[in-house]
Each structure stands twice: as structure tokens, then as C-alpha cells.
Amino acid sequence: MDPTIESPARPQPATEPMLPDPWRVERVHAETADTFSLELTPVGGPRPLAFSPGQFNMLYVFGVGEVPISISGNPEIESPLVHTTRIVGTVTRAMGKLKAGDLLGVRGPYGSGWPVDAAKGRDVVIVAGGLGLAPLRPLIHHLLAHRADYREIALLYGTRTPQDRIFRADLRRWTARRDLQAQVTVDRAVSGWTGHVGVVTKLVAHAPFDPSNTVAFVCGPEVMMRFTLQELQRRGVPPERSHLSLERNMKCAIGFCGHCQYGSMFVCKDGPVFRYDRVRSLMKVREL
């Protein structure tokens, strides 16, 4: 298959473009001290929201504001809809106060997904930093649900400390699997930690993949992604087979307002997942 192939037709918003639908918080799960996952179900009965791994929704905390948040649940199951959010400011702080039974506005799904078809028949390496594992989690679920379609799958995940790891139950399951090479590394170990210590880029050199036949998916803060992509290139994975997810401030999420413009592209509709060769020159720009 052509290595540059993009994802086929992506799921489109189930709602009116700018009108959020009310969803109910079924469960809140604390991932770390400042990051939580919300499990949501639609108000008024089943109305599943089909999405591609890598897509995001606009989440509206009533009376406070709306923010783009990646979908972090399993795309193979219809319900619940899962989002994992770190508290950084006004809206995410208000979202962090929601409890089971509270309502939240949802519109979406938006954006491009991870091009899973480009990885069929190839080795896959997934590199995540910190909260960057959230948009990659649906991808991991998808790959494992269609395991026979892919060759080696390596997951490399880095966080500041062991306490900063999100999805710990998944990580335990994933590291125990023989058909997934999952490695976790932290910058700072705590007593009792016997895993890797060092930045996640260091794991790239050791991961079991054949660079001439590998597709890479990378998500994390931009500095981490830049150096990870450099390491992947050192190993021989070319930029046109490396994909990353970018974040930019958003308002409309449907390509109208221009808030998320990135060079000639809009992150909300051309991204957030981009092929590295298409955004590499922009990533070196300090301010856009």
C-alpha cells in the first residue's frame, strides 16, 4: 500500500456544526493529580458518536466555555464516550469539578484521525509523551482489535515521574501482552521504580521495528515530538511515514474563524493529525 495514503472518509459531526448536544457524566476517573477522564453518555437515549482514532470534540462546560479535547476512549465500542483532560485554565478547571450526573455540551467529532490504513502490513511505532497518550489510546485499541493487520507494534511512553502516567490499568495490560512491545520511561524515578529512566526519545533506538517498513505515530508536547521525530529519522523512518498530532487554540473547529491557522492550514480541519513532512518547516517557527 502507498505509504503516504491518508485516512479514508472520517466520521462527521453528529450535531449541528456550532450547537453542542447535552451529554451526561457517568463516571469521573482521576488519572493523576491534575488529569481526569470523563465517561459520557448522550442525554435522551442511545445516540452513539462514531469517531476515528485521533479526532477530537468541542466540550462545552455550560456557562463557562468551550475547549477542544481529544477522544481518548475505545473506538471499537459504542459507549461511553471518553475524554481525558488536564486542568490548565478556566474551562478545564470547571470541567474538573464535574461529577457523575452533571451535563456537558459535546459537538463533534472533528479533525483528521491517525491514518491507520497507512500502517496496514507494516511495523508500527507509537511514541507518546505525558498527556499525549490520550489521543493515541483509541489508536492502540484499534490496532489491537485488528492485530492481524499489522506486524510489530511498539508503544513508547514517557512521563515526568511514575505518578504522571495516565491510563495505568491499560499500561499494565499492554506491557503484559506479547503482541505489543510497550515500554514506559520516566525522567525521575521514585523509590521502587524498576522501569526505564530517561527521556522517551532514548527508547526509539531500542524499539523492535524495521525502519524501512514502519509507520510512526507521535503525540506529546511539541519539543518532545520534534526530538522524537529526529530520533525516528536517525533510525531510518522517513518523515512521510511519521504522523503527529498538533494543538492550536481553537474556537469554531470547523474551519471558519481562522483561530487555529498553521501556515496555510487549519489545525481543526486539516489536522490535528498531520504527516510530518507537511508541517516540518512550520514546527521550527517560534511564533506563528
Partner: protein, 153 residues
């Protein structure tokens, strides 16, 4: 070609090295094993070896008075441990402890230094390979200090 020469030519540290140089290097090498928990070396001891890790995991640690040692980084199969053997005063700057049972090839630093002194081609090859490792580790340590995951960048 002896067993060690066979083994080290597969290690990426020696990739592309001439057979004659490999043979010289293998002449200074021995295979070693460390059970989990055992130290490969301690800070301040004489650094008379370096190691090519073949399996297992090693923590490089700094002893901190009154506290658990701080793990600076871990190394795994394919990695090289130790460059203090290259530079005076040939003393280890850290502790190295096997986190998981380790199989490695240990090179006698004094033996290699003597061979490098009389064979500058081998000396140059090894110096360049260690320089590349040092640069790479320094870059990784910088990123580790930056906190590349914590806040938005």
C-alpha cells in the same frame, strides 16, 4: 575468529568496524554476568572497564547522603556503559547497578588504551564512537532536565 569477536561484531557499537580492529578489541574483552541488584561499579572506584550490554537493565545512580540513591538514567541491551576508562584520572563518576539480571561484554580499559596508543586507527574509531555516544546522552539529559512533558510547549 573467537566467540567474543563473533558476539561484539553484532553489537551496534562496533557496527562497520574492520575485522582486524574487532579482533584487537576482542582481545581485551570477556563476557560477564551480574544478577539483579548487584553493582557493576561504584563511584570513585578505578574505572578499568567499559561494558557492552547484551541483555538486562542497568541503573546509573548517584549516592545522596541520607536518601535513596538517585537514578539518573537506565541503560538496556544495545547500550554502552562507561567512558571514564578513556580519560584520566580513570575513576567512575557514578554507581551502576543491575536492575534486571545483566549479560554484558566487559572490555579492559588499560588493555584497550595500550592498543589504541599503538594503533591510532583503532584509537580514532573508538574515540569517535564514544564521542557520538557522549553527544547523544548529553542531548537526552538536556531533554530530561527540560521537563518536556509537564507543561504545554
Amino acid at each position: 575468529m573467537n566467540d567474543i569477536q563473533q558476539l561484539i561484531r553484532k553489537h551496534r557499537f562496533f557496527a562497520g568496524l574492520q575485522e582486524s580492529d574487532l579482533e584487537l578489541a576482542a582481545g581485551c574483552a570477556a563476557n560477564v554476568h551480574f544478577p539483579a541488584g548487584q553493582h557493576l561499579f561504584h563511584e570513585g572506584e578505578s574505572a578499568d572497564h567499559f561494558y557492552l550490554l547484551r541483555s538486562g537493565r542497568v541503573a546509573l545512580e548517584m549516592a545522596v547522603p541520607g536518601r535513596q540513591p538517585v537514578v539518573i538514567e537506565t541503560l538496556q541491551a544495545g547500550d554502552v556503559i562507561g567512558w571514564s576508562w578513556l580519560f584520566p584520572p580513570y575513576l567512575w563518576q557514578m554507581d551502576a547497578r543491575a536492575l534486571l539480571a545483566v549479560r554484558a561484554t566487559a572490555f579492559d580499559g588499560k588493555c584497550l588504551r595500550e592498543k589504541c596508543a599503538s594503533n591510532h586507527d583503532l584509537g580514532y574509531e573508538l574515540a569517535m564512537r564514544f564521542a557520538a555516544i557522549l553527544t547523544h546522552r548529553l542531548q537526552a539529559t538536556r531533554l530530561q532536565l527540560l521537563d518536556v512533558y509537564g507543561s504545554h510547549h
